[in-house]
Subunit: 126 residues, 2 copies
């Protein structure tokens, strides 16, 4: 049975997907796929998302070249979300960091603090 | 500034949070928090979620006792989602598996296949 038929897409026709590093297992980003994006992801082996701001399916990394090669796709117990293990090219985050989750909440300071350093300069890529 | 003020909650007042194992970094589940659930999570150090089916804030593991102790909270680059590193008690999934993402998509068989074995017997817990 096609994977899409085993999943529940929400009222907008989307399913959230945790994208995580196949090696370190660190979460990289959260994205949303519609049925077409999922089929394109499986067919090409590269993560495709439904970009709500653009209203269409896009290759993740279409502009930057920072694509994500699919290693494994997991579905949650209820078929409401996916977790996709990937090999990330360069970096997942448009802000230049490897992961979109580079800001850690510091309870004592009540502030979000960037961890590590950017891998690329966004002003030279976008 | 309170963490909630640095985030964007969606039109239902929710923000998605990737819950992942603080040790192995594996994704465990995806849940949704409203402002109250986030405040309760930070105040108690235990993950609280807004359970849509119940229409209220609940301690994750309220019924099973399988709670998640917060180790670190990360916000994504745009403040649209969270990633919370936790110490998981027993298992994250109500189906008995450690992670909700225990079903791997097998491309050749076009099927979801359970990986590993359940940690507990759901019929004895719920």
């Amino acid at each position: 049975m096609p994977l899409a038929d085993m999943l529940h897409f929400d009222e907008k026709g989307l399913i959230p997907a945790i994208i995580f590093d196949a090696g370190t297992r660190e979460p990289l980003t959260l994205c949303y796929l519609d049925r077409a994006a999922l089929e394109r992801t499986l067919a090409t082996g590269l993560v495709h998302v439904f970009r709500r701001s653009h209203g269409r399916v896009m290759l993740k990394g279409e502009t930057s070249g920072h694509t994500q090669r699919v290693v494994d796709v997991f579905a949650d117990c209820e078929g409401n979300s996916l977790a996709i293990a990937v090999e990330q090219k360069v970096a997942a985050c448009h802000a230049g960091y490897y992961t979109c989750y580079y800001r850690r909440y510091d309870r004592a300071k009540d502030a979000l603090e960037a961890q590590g350093t950017p891998i690329f300069d966004p002003s030279k890529v976008y």
